[in-house]
């Protein structure tokens, strides 16, 4: 397993698994920041469309409503609305599939 986003000095976000579609801020990141993003298809970059506080997540790809949201290489819930690349992913647009009464 390779953490493509974990190499290099001064990294400001972390992709915990290559199959994730969210990355996590390692510092308070500002709207408009351009971050390098490695993927299976090669290196590219992403522009944050919102400020992302430390330890919060942003989408690295477009995630449609009801689409899978992934972190740690696993499903952490589904999108309750379309999420655009560089946008904050949190309780306003991500819902659990494992909370009580669901998914079991």
């Amino acid at each position: 397993m390779v953490d493509q986003q974990t190499q290099g000095q001064g990294r400001r976000h972390i992709l915990l698994h290559p199959s994730d579609n969210t990355a996590t801020a390692l510092a308070d990141l500002q709207k408009g920041e351009i971050l390098p993003l490695a993927s299976g298809k090669g290196n590219s970059s992403i522009t944050l469309t919102e400020s992302i506080p430390f330890a919060h997540k942003f989408a690295t790809t477009f995630i449609p409503q009801a689409g899978e949201v992934r972190k740690y290489g696993e499903l952490i819930g589904e999108a309750s609305q379309d999420i655009h690349p560089g946008g904050l992913v949190h309780i306003h647009n991500l819902v659990s599939q494992r909370s009580r009464g669901q998914g079991r």
């Binding site: 972390i14 996590t24 972190k71 740690y72 696993e74 499903l75 599939q97 494992r98």
Partner: protein
């Protein structure tokens, strides 16, 4: 995978039954809460002796008495224990002779002192002191020898967590675990509480359907007990504090904890107090609280416990070194007497998870060969207990 030849072995104590310890201690076990003080006092008289105390052993349901008995037996069988002295009151509910006999099946010296039969505290102290001194001297001649890394048994725990735990300390520990499993060592994790919300993921990582069903039954059992007491883990998580810290769903919270177990298949799942058999990754049913889970991991056979923390947890364990790993630089700076390994470079962007995992791996081997952890050198190892699920009667 990069392997330097020198890293594939460590210096351990080979026991009479062939198992390997990373420490060679006389362990004094209190068999019942009423014998705790005598056990602590006798251990104090013998330099290097470890003492294990707990709040059980009497006035409990049959199921709990069995769980306490098997936990004590398997703690005594832990290969870090060179010899064991059992301190009994005499009238406790569990059976001291059975515990001594089964502990002794690991071919180590085991002795019992019964306070009510030895003339009370002072009589028992004299008897216990002489037995302890004799056993401590007998095990003192054993020397470390070079053994293969496949003899290593690592337990995992995270506690006093913060956002850096799920982002750096736990995933970096998971990298070290994957490497150990790849080298045929054994790793044990637990914390059934932390699995709720990610149980389907662990079920998927189980070796077969039987193991998956055991894991799911542990989660169901814990949820049932919590609900019966009027609480609801699944409904109350993630907490408001978790959400403010960036965690959005229960799945995400649970994954941030179980990521420390890496990505290997789970070979088997055990009830609390059971001993693992074989090599690879194992799960033991256990609560998240430190005194009880560390006893469960040690009874399962862990020689070392790797403990990832964010805010800084102090505790060690009597005869099992506990290695503290932290990715919060403020905690590392503030609590130099608690934290063994600083992986805050993952957060500052100076280190990759693989590099941090390699340093954890190397430190585990150093501790296995005798390097003292912060908790060991501090002597902070008295917060111990055994898990029970029924009422005190």
């Amino acid at each position: 995978m990069r392997e330097m030849k020198g890293n594939l072995t460590f210096m351990g104590f080979r026991r009479a039954n062939g198992e390997v310890g990373v420490r060679n201690q006389l362990a004094v076990f209190s068999l019942v809460t009423c014998a705790n003080e005598a056990a602590i006092h006798v251990a104090r008289q013998v330099p290097g002796a470890a003492v294990f105390t707990h709040q059980n052993g009497c006035g409990q349901t049959q199921a709990d008495m069995e769980m306490v008995s098997r936990t004590l037996i398997h703690l005594g069988q832990n290969p870090n224990v060179g010899a064991a002295l059992l301190v009994s009151l005499g009238c406790e509910g569990l059976n001291p002779s059975r515990i001594a006999e089964e502990m002794g099946q690991s071919k180590k010296p085991v002795e019992i002192v019964r306070i009510q039969q030895e003339g009370g505290y002072f009589g028992a102290m004299a008897e216990a002191g002489l037995k302890a001194q004799k056993m401590a001297q007998a095990i003192s001649t054993l020397r470390r020898e070079e053994v293969g890394i496949e003899e290593l048994v690592l337990g995992l725990k995270c506690g006093a967590s913060d956002p850096t735990s799920g982002l750096a300390a736990n995933p970096a520990l998971g990298k070290a675990v994957d490497r150990l499993i790849g080298l045929n060592a054994a790793v044990i994790f637990g914390e059934t509480t932390e699995v709720i919300g990610a149980e389907h993921i662990l079920a998927k990582r189980s070796k077969n359907r039987e193991v998956a069903e055991k894991l799911l039954s542990f989660v169901d059992g814990l949820e049932r007990r919590v609900k019966a007491s009027g609480s609801d883990i699944r409904g109350g998580n993630p907490s408001a504090g978790n959400i403010a810290g960036g965690i959005s769903t229960l799945e995400e919270k649970s994954l941030g904890s179980i990521v420390k177990s890496g990505s290997s298949l789970i070979q088997d799942a055990y009830e609390y107090g059971e001993r693992k058999r074989g090599r690879g990754l194992f799960f033991v049913d256990s609560p998240g609280r430190e005194p009880e889970i560390m006893a469960g991991l040690s009874a399962a056979g862990s020689q070392i416990i790797a403990f990832a923390t964010g805010l800084g947890a102090p505790q060690g364990f009597p005869f099992v070194p506990v290695l503290k790993i932290c990715a919060n630089w403020k905690t590392v700076a503030r609590l130099p007497d608690f934290i063994d390994l600083d992986v805050s470079g993952v957060i500052s962007g100076e280190e990759s998870l693989e590099e941090a995992g390699d340093r954890i791996f190397a430190e585990i081997l150093a501790v296995a060969s005798g390097k003292g952890t912060k908790a060991e050198t501090l002597g902070y190892s008295g917060s111990t207990n055994i898990y029970t699920t029924g009422p005190i009667v």
